[in-house]
């Protein structure tokens, strides 16, 4: 199987990160792993975009970060959802639904309502 799978579409990465963090604080590595798992290995995240995205989101106060110790006793930076991030996630979700529905309809891949 191609390890790389589908590259995440630009702009949706932040949304995916927010969704992952909705479940609780996680470090950068964990976020890539979770995205891959939740997408049934269809999506993989390029580290080159992951970390800049995370820092950007910290700056926009969508997420906060702090150093914590993992269950294996390693120091790692954990990111967690900030209130602004929660709102952003909600807004992003509905926007995405509309967008993907629209795209599906145009491409003719949508299952027509019976």
């Amino acid at each position: 199987m191609d390890e790389r799978g589908g590259e995440v579409i630009k702009g949706t990465l932040e949304l995916l990160i927010l969704r992952i963090l909705e479940a609780g604080p996680m470090h950068g590595w964990g976020i890539t792993e979770l995205i891959q798992q939740h997408s049934d290995q269809l999506l993989s995240v390029n580290q080159g975009s992951l970390y800049p995205a995370l820092y950007r989101m910290v700056r926009r106060r969508l997420v906060t970060s702090e150093w914590r110790v993992t269950e294996n006793n390693r120091r790692a930076r954990y990111y967690s959802l900030a209130p602004a991030g929660r709102k952003e996630l909600a807004a992003g979700r509905s926007q995405w639904e509309r967008l993907s529905r629209g795209v599906d309809l145009v491409l003719g891949t949508a299952r027509r309502a019976r």
């Binding site: 390890e3 950068g28 590595w29 792993e33 080159g48 970390y51 820092y55 700056r59 930076r77």
Partner: protein, 884 residues
């Protein structure tokens, strides 16, 4: 402005943090890589392969790091911006607090910058000439550290001929010349420069050429002009070379124009015209030439000094007669001296002490500033606690507080610069005569840099004090408390008070010593009565008025003065008292003994002692009959008589002016003089110096080579005097400019200007320290009363008399003051030693000054304690207890 400064600062702070940000980012990446590697290992890959795959996945590492770090840095920067914004808002919301704080610091910084600019201009800045480190002066150590920073023509020539490490050695004499024709003469600052001076100064000629070798020997018909003079007076004429100008009624040809940078170190006002100066290589007297040298390129100072040591050895061997006996273990020798050694001298210590003193005042000011901040910190404790609870780390709080105080201190620094400008002008106005290199004292880049550095240091210092006093015990602890909390803070403030009192005491003791010393100096009897004496200085006299003609002119002026109503007496003299006179070798007829060689020699006209009210002890004073036809006579001072004829009557004894080691220095001196009178000692060269042994001779008998006269008259200093004397002089020769008028008390006052300068400055610093300390003590005690209002109320409700309450509060306040006094007292005993050289008639450990200063400080501190304490006794128990 504040925002701009904040931004700058934030940027600087961010770049300082760059290292840490990078470290955090790479730690995060390492974690990521490790996790990825582990995953591959779990899938069965060998560790090395797993690592490689993980790295492959990760992509170009440095690039990630760069991008990630950029993001990170951005974030930190924003935090700094936030703090700057927040700080600005916080300060704007309490403008009175911000203004008080800012002004305190601005004053401190301004005073520091002003003093620093003087120190920098006078002491620190290198001379504005090429390769200033190769410049030095040569002096002569008589042995045992008696150094004069000057050499004789013979010595100058000796060094110039032999020294291999020296590229050029030169000297100069300052002159005042008149230029132009009879009708409109102008006065020109001129300098006669010896062969070698231009080379030693080391700037090229701008136009034309320098003096030629032979012109230094013969030529008094050539001049060079300064760039400024060329531009202002000669119209910047490019064809000026070869033009003839008239100076002193004689024609001289311009051969060169100097570079704008040209200046002779040590000359106050730069010379406008240079003429060649011939050095008579065999003249062994007149050891009063400043010898400027330029070392050869690449030759170290110590190499030059080493060669001078060798030359000193040769000089002693070749000229045993010129070397005083002295101490054989410390023979006389040539020494190298810096510009500061030669021209700044004692002032150097004064300036550093002023700098130290103002530093002390600044510390006290900062303590007050920190106190203000801490007091405000009390009010903000809850705000800070909330921020802590919301997740701000200690570092973040510290950063915020430091940025806040930096905002204040940088703004204060800017205001301080304005104050410094005013301060510099005030200092220069107060400074004695001319500080050397006065023109270089200015608010330049160096002072700007100093001010900026000081502002940042002050801001960080008290910001940190404040923050540490606040965050020490964990602000969370204070969240739960409703009380006014913070015994930490109180202890911080109390420590500051102790320090303030200690420092203030040192300053007040210093001021007390200087004031006492100054009072003693003023009380010194100068040996004559300066009150009511007018001093008249003449402008430049035409060179044709010399010898007999000059004596005649003097007589006319003295007569004119005597005719004026109210004038009691008048006389001419070569120098006013407190101006240096001639230092001249004089022998006693019939004795081989050389004595100390030189004594003070002053030529005066009849009426001199009467005008100054110098008491005549024996014999008679000069009369009009003591003229060139009469036998030469002299009057000696009591100190002179006591030294050479102890217990004898000096009247009728003979002295020999200009006879040195058995030789007459010039044929004109031959003959000797009869002592006809003894007058009381006069402190001719300054109140602080004991009277020198002095010989007076009548001007009429020494008309050859007579110095220009000054005039003294006892009577009213009426401005109409100038016009009248101007008319008398004009009738003699219309080229003589009108005279200028001074008074003897003013001259006396100017002679102690240095002492007045430092006494006034240190006293005002001490006063400032005292006031600042009083404010500090007041603030702390007032806070104490405020904190304990409840307790005091309870005590009073339980029947404690007002006196007990007063004792409670005052006791605490004065306890702190006492601790400060003990520390300050010890410090004062140690530090006032530095003042030793500046004190006259009082020792650095003078008990009156120390105890008196202690008394003053205690009194002020007691008042500052008592005022708020009194409020405590007015506490109404019922109100206070009901209040909470």
């Amino acid at each position: 402005m504040i925002r701009w400064l904040g931004d700058r600062l934030a940027r600087i702070a961010a770049s300082l943090r760059r290292g840490r940000v990078d470290a955090e980012v790479s730690e995060e990446f390492r974690f990521h890589l490790d996790q990825a590697t582990e995953r591959y290992i779990r899938r069965g890959l060998p560790p090395a392969e797993a690592r490689r795959r993980a790295l492959d996945d990760f992509g170009a590492l440095p690039e990630h790091r760069e991008r990630a770090a950029d993001e990170q840095r951005h974030r930190r920067l924003e935090a700094v911006f936030d703090d700057v914004r927040f700080g600005t808002r916080a300060l704007r919301s309490s403008p009175r607090f911000a203004a008080t704080l800012g002004l305190t610091i601005a004053l401190a910084i301004g005073a520091n910058s002003a003093i620093f600019s003087v120190i920098d201009g006078v002491l620190l800045k290198p001379l504005p000439l090429p390769d200033p480190d190769r410049l030095a002066f040569v002096g002569w150590d008589h042995g045992g550290g008696r150094v004069i920073h000057a050499v004789s023509p013979f010595q100058l020539h000796f060094i110039g001929e032999r020294a291999g490490t020296i590229e050029a050695i030169g000297t100069y004499r300052t002159r005042s010349w008149s230029r132009g024709e009879r009708d409109a003469p102008e006065t020109v600052r001129a300098a006669a420069v010896s062969h070698g001076l231009l080379g030693a100064v080391g700037v090229p000629v701008r136009l034309g050429r320098a003096f030629a070798e032979e012109e230094y020997r013969s030529g008094d018909d050539v001049v060079m002009v300064s760039d400024a003079y060329w531009r202002a007076r000669l119209g910047g004429d490019p064809e000026v070379i070869g033009r003839t100008l008239r100076f002193e009624g004689e024609s001289r040809t311009v051969v060169g124009v100097l570079d704008p940078r040209f200046q002779i170190p040590g000359q106050g006002e730069p010379a406008e015209v240079l003429a060649p100066l011939a050095i008579e290589p065999n003249r062994q007297d007149g050891q009063n030439l400043n010898a400027l040298i330029r070392a050869r390129a690449g030759v170290s100072r110590s190499a030059v000094q080493a060669e001078l040591e060798r030359l000193s050895q040769r000089f002693r061997v070749e000229n045993p007669d010129l070397v005083d006996g002295g101490d054989p273990t410390a023979p006389p020798r040539f020494v190298l001296a810096t510009f500061q050694d030669v021209f700044v001298g004692d002032l150097r210590t004064t300036l550093w002490i002023l700098f130290g003193a103002i530093g002390f005042v600044t510390l006290i000011g900062c303590a007050n500033a920190a106190n203000l901040l801490i007091a405000r910190g009390l009010a903000r404790e809850r705000e800070l606690a909330v921020r802590t609870a919301l997740g701000a780390g200690r570092g973040r709080i510290l950063q915020q507080l430091v940025i806040e105080s930096l905002l204040v201190s940088l703004a204060a620094g800017a205001v301080g610069l304005l104050l410094a400008r005013v301060g510099i002008d005030a200092l220069l106005a107060l400074a004695p005569g001319a500080l050397p290199r006065e023109g270089e004292i200015a608010l330049d880049g160096r002072v700007l840099g100093f001010t900026a550095a000081l502002s940042v240091a002050v801001g960080v210092l008290f910001g940190a004090i404040n923050a540490l006093a606040g965050t020490k015990r964990g602000l969370l602890a204070t969240l739960g408390r409703t009380g006014r909390g913070g015994s930490e803070r109180r202890r911080g403030r109390e420590t500051l008070i102790v320090a303030q009192v200690a420092i203030a005491l040192v300053l007040v003791v210093s001021a007390a010593l200087l004031v006492q010393s100054f009072a003693r100096l003023r009380a010194v009897d100068p040996g004559f009565d300066p009150e009511g004496v007018v001093a008249i200085r003449l402008g430049r006299l035409p060179s044709t008025i010399r010898g007999e003609k000059l004596v005649a002119l003097e007589r006319r002026v003295v007569e004119a003065l005597g005719r004026r109503p109210g004038m009691v007496a008048a006389a001419a003299a070569a120098n006013f008292p407190f101006e240096r006179g001639l230092n001249f070798p004089i022998s006693i007829a019939g004795r081989d003994e050389v004595g100390e060689g030189a004594v003070e020699w002053r030529t005066v006209s009849p009426g001199y002692f009467e005008t100054l009210s110098v008491p005549l002890l024996r014999g008679r004073t000069f009369a009009a009959t003591d003229d060139p036809r009469a036998p030469r006579v002299a009057i000696v001072s009591a100190a002179f008589a006591e030294r050479y004829w102890p217990g004898e009557d000096p009247i009728g004894k003979r002295i020999e002016i200009g006879r040195w080691r058995g030789e007459w220095m010039r044929p004109a001196f031959e003959g000797g003089e009869e002592v006809i009178g003894v007058v009381a000692d006069v402190r001719e060269i300054g109140l602080a110096s004991p009277a020198r042994r002095t010989v007076y001779t009548p001007r009429a008998q020494w008309s050859d080579g007579l110095d220009w006269p000054r005039f003294l008259a006892r009577g009213p200093a009426d401005p109409s005097l100038v016009a009248e004397l101007g008319a008398v002089l004009g009738a003699i020769d219309d080229r003589i400019p009108p005279p200028s008028l001074e008074t003897m008390p003013a001259i006396l006052s100017a002679s102690i200007a240095t002492e007045r300068f430092r006494t006034a400055l240190i006293s005002s610093f001490a006063l400032a320290a005292l006031l600042l300390t009083a404010v500090g003590v007041y603030g702390v005690v007032a806070a104490l009363v405020g904190q304990r209002t409840r307790e005091i109320g309870i005590r009073m409700a339980l029947g404690a008399p007002a006196a007990t309450v007063l004792r409670l509060v005052v006791g605490r306040g004065l306890g702190l003051v006492a601790v400060g006094c003990v520390l300050g007292g010890v410090g004062a005993i140690g530090l006032t030693r530095l003042l030793r050289g500046m004190l006259f008639g009082v020792g650095p450990d003078d008990p009156v000054a120390h105890v008196g200063a202690l008394g003053i400080l205690m009194a002020v501190a007691a008042l500052a304690t008592w005022l708020p304490a009194r409020r405590a006794t007015r506490v109404n128990p019922v109100e206070t207890l009901g209040a909470e």
